[in-house]
């Protein structure tokens, strides 16, 4: 057996090594409150070898988290259900050891960084696991310092976790696990809830851990992040649908799309053009150049003309004039913002967390009032108007549907807004029917919204705002926590609402969605308006985006390398021509 750093570049044939983790014919079904069984895994076989980094991809409900929970014994020891098969960690069956005992073998990082931090300061958070292992205090201090340095949090030891950014919290969660020096690290969607800057921070930490030769299993939410893994495992319906090196799995754009996983833009484009596959933007550009592809100027000009046709020239519905706002005991969250939005526009507001996007949006529906400047909706100042009054014109869909769903049935949930407006029950029914039809949930009025999937709950939340028939709809990160298919579905819904005459303002971190759906893009940075213009023009200004800690999506970067920003694979196929 060689230490990890002496291994050759190519992984040795598996049979020569002992697997770190062996999963055999693993099946698991969750037992719900009323005793029913919900199958999650239906026969998974998987081996992870020492020093290997395995990326797991799959749509919602594929069993990704369940698989993670099986690796450190949370299933079957803490989570109830029916289990069959076998999971061995370094030869030890997870059935024989509780998760707490397995903690030195398998470290687990969860998606939700809020609920895996339970200490009142950073150092203590990292020390918590070591305290549980009865580590002597002097050794503990050494390991805490080492773990914090590894994730780049050195010097923040005395901070309260609540005061950290999302990326810092997730790095703290990783440090807290690393301090226990587990031999395998399992991370369940560690970047899903983060903004682009937070994601980048986690990617850097994971790169560092990979370079150290650690054994890791990472459930990835974005296909792009699986590129650097040693192996990609695709889960679908509780089974391993595909497994192999990234160069094999991730270049199969159609296969991924069919399984509900977002294909890489580079792979999708090259496969559409019948060219040899590539994983990265750089490789894709090289392949395209070598094959003699370039952007046809006439076809590109036609594209720009159609951009102009879809830019709205309706009346001004939102007017923001030199608006400044500050939360108590902190600096200005929004400063000197001037913005005009016309009827029928579909505007994306982007920027990292803390750049003032959400504050700006809350100023539009009267949840916040400007400290200086004025916000006018259809010509009337929001000052002196209540949120209830403004709600008739400006609907606001909050990021997390679970922050608003309370009713026992979908019908009552959606009827809440219209009823608050004092409408007669007959009119309320008409509104609910209309709204549920728009989000594709007709016929499900009687269902319990709490029992629905995240994607469905998100659509219930949208319907509950639609039912008040607002002219302007604000959506705060409408696709967070949704898988690729659900994201597409949500954005197609947004597009239909826009086509039906609603003015759309959406806050998002997903720039590929911005490229594909928004006519106009507003970039916020440190509370100020940093860029504002047609999406194609904004996404083409790579240097300015970088200053706002943003990066154009891969398809736009491929286009830029060839001379002009392209917003989707379809566009690229339409304008690229072989010479």
């Amino acid at each position: 057996m060689f230490p990890p750093d002496l291994r050759a570049g190519a992984p040795a044939p598996p049979q020569e090594k002992t697997a770190a983790v062996t999963v055999q014919d693993l099946a698991f079904a969750y037992r719900t409150g009323d005793g029913a069984l919900v199958p999650a895994l239906r026969g998974v076989n998987l081996e992870i070898f020492p020093g290997e980094v395995v990326a797991v991809l799959g749509p919602s409900g594929a069993g990704k988290s369940t698989l993670c929970y099986c690796l450190n014994g949370l299933i079957p020891h803490v989570i109830r259900g029916e289990w069959s098969g076998e999971v061995r960690v370094f030869g030890r069956s997870t059935r024989a050891a509780r998760p707490a005992e397995l903690a030195v073998d398998v470290g687990m990082v969860f998606q939700d960084f809020e609920t895996q931090l339970f200490s009142t300061n950073v150092e203590l958070e990292v020390a918590f696991g070591l305290e549980n292992l009865a580590t002597p205090p002097a050794e503990m201090r050494r390991r805490v310092a080492e773990a914090l340095a590894l994730v780049g949090l050195a010097g923040l030891g005395r901070r309260e976790p609540a005061t950290l950014s999302g990326g810092q919290k997730q790095r703290l969660a990783i440090a807290a696990v690393l301090a226990m020096r587990p031999r395998v690290l399992v991370l369940d969607e560690p970047t899903t809830d983060l903004d682009p800057r937070g994601r980048e921070e986690i990617v850097q930490v994971l790169d560092r851990l990979r370079a150290q030769g650690r054994t890791m299993l990472v459930v990835e939410h974005e296909t792009e992040q699986a590129v650097s893994a040693d192996r990609v495992v695709v889960l679908e319906g509780g089974r391993v649908a595909a497994s192999g090196p990234p160069a094999e799995i991730l270049t199969d754009a159609d296969g991924l799309e069919a399984r509900g996983i977002q294909p890489l833009a580079s792979a999708a484009l090259l496969s559409r053009l019948g060219l040899p596959p590539a994983l990265t933007v750089e490789d894709a550009v090289r392949v395209l150049r070598e094959a003699g592809y370039r952007i046809d100027p006439d076809r590109y000009a036609a594209l720009v003309r159609s951009d102009r046709a879809r830019s709205a020239d309706g009346d001004e519905v939102v007017a923001v004039d030199d608006v400044t706002f500050a939360y108590p005991r902190s600096g200005p969250a929004v400063r000197g913002v001037r913005l005009r939005i016309r009827r029928g526009e579909c505007v994306a507001i982007v920027g990292h967390n803390g750049s003032g996007k959400t504050t700006l949006a809350k100023l539009l529906n009267g949840l916040l009032a400007p400290a200086a400047g004025d916000v006018r909706i259809r010509g009337r100042s929001t000052r002196g108007q209540s949120v209830l009054q403004l709600g008739r014109t400006v609907g606001y869909v909050f990021q997390n549907p679970d922050h608003q769903i309370f009713a026992e049935t979908v019908y009552d949930e959606v009827a809440f807004g219209p009823r608050n407006q004092g409408l007669a029950e007959r009119e309320v029914r008409a509104r609910v029917d209309e709204a549920l039809a728009a989000v594709g949930l007709s016929g499900r009025e009687g269902e319990d919204p709490f029992a629905m999937t995240r994607g469905e709950r998100q659509r219930v939340a949208v319907a509950s705002v639609l039912a008040t028939r607002p002219e302007v709809i604000i959506l705060d990160e409408p696709t967070t926590g949704l898988d690729y298919r659900e994201q597409r579905r949500m954005m197609d819904l947004v597009q239909r609402l826009n086509a039906a005459g609603h003015t759309i303002i959406m806050i998002t971190h997903a720039l590929w969605l911005v490229a594909a759906y928004a006519h106009r893009t507003v970039v916020m940075r440190d509370g100020a308006l940093w860029m504002d213009g047609p999406t194609r023009e904004v996404l083409a200004r790579e240097a300015e985006l970088t200053e706002a800690a943003l990066r154009p999506p891969p398809i736009v970067r491929i286009g830029l390398a060839l001379g002009a920003p392209l917003l989707s694979v379809d566009e690229a196929v339409a304008v690229l021509r072989r010479t």
């Binding site: 998760p99 969860f110 009142t120 696991g129 070591l130 309260e160 005991r329 909050f398 679970d402």
Partner: protein
């Protein structure tokens, strides 16, 4: 959102062992209620102010200033009017009642101020470790400190939920009591749902981090009981005895002529 009073600093008050500070706090609280005459709570309040100065706790005190002033002046006023004495002063107010009112106001101000100074100079984890060293079982102490950690999370979720429902036209301010309570349902249900989900996740994370993996455990924070701590604790114990003696066995520092 910052809801904690703790102000990190390196002062003699911060450096004291949490157990010594707990003893001192107990002494101040007992002394404050040991007598009715304003002299004792007045002197105590002076002492608390000096400690606040030494511990740089002014910021924390300023944050609760309004609360202290409100409670102190309200109780001074009401007791001055409603307590009954023997020497008339002005209208329904007698000299003894005024003294009693001022004394009660000072007692309350003193108790709040002392507690705030304690919280401003002692971090949550010091309190937790202090309680463990005083014999509190670890699971109880852990539950206490985790609750403290989760407060900002739930406050944040609650604020978001309120905004989300207000955006859908929820009005919790108007209407009768029953109506208003019914209107809180759209707030209470999501908060409970968030809390339950968080608790489940928390349990998974706890298990994964080796919680109670073995019967023994060590502690990252080590408390050291220094000479200053011994002095503070000894003085506090003497004061606690004195307070009990004053309250139970003498009528010193009471207000003669106050009718009870």
């Amino acid at each position: 959102m910052d809801i904690y009073l703790y102000v990190p600093a390196d002062t003699p008050v911060h450096r004291l062992d949490p157990r010594a500070k707990m003893a001192a706090l107990l002494a101040v609280l007992l002394l404050a209620v040991a007598a009715d005459h304003p002299l004792l709570p007045g002197a105590l309040l002076g002492a608390v102010v000096l400690v606040a100065h030494a511990g740089r706790a002014w910021g924390a005190l300023r944050r609760v200033r309004a609360l202290i002033l409100l409670i102190a002046s309200f109780s001074t006023l009401t007791w001055s009017v409603f307590a009954r004495g023997t020497t008339p002063l002005l209208g329904p107010v007698e000299v003894e009642a005024l003294l009693f009112g001022v004394g009660t106001g000072l007692k309350l101000a003193c108790t709040i101020a002392a507690s705030v100074v304690f919280l401003a100079t002692t971090s949550n984890e010091e309190i937790t470790v202090g309680l463990i060293r005083l014999g509190l079982p670890y699971p109880v102490a852990f539950a206490f400190s985790t609750a403290l950690r989760l407060v900002p999370t739930f406050v944040g979720a609650g604020a978001t939920i309120l905004e989300a429902q207000k955006s859908r036209g929820l009005d919790v301010e108007s209407g009768g009591l029953i109506q208003r309570m019914r209107r809180h349902l759209p707030l209470v249900v999501p908060i409970l749902a968030v809390a339950i989900r968080s608790t489940n996740q928390l349990a998974l994370a706890l298990e994964s981090r080796g919680f109670r993996a073995r019967p023994d455990r060590t502690y990252y924070l080590e408390l050291r009981f220094r000479a200053a701590d011994r002095v503070v604790t000894a003085v506090s114990l003497v004061l606690i005895v004195l307070a009990l003696y004053l309250r139970l066995f003498t009528r010193a520092l009471r207000i003669p002529g106050l009718l009870t």
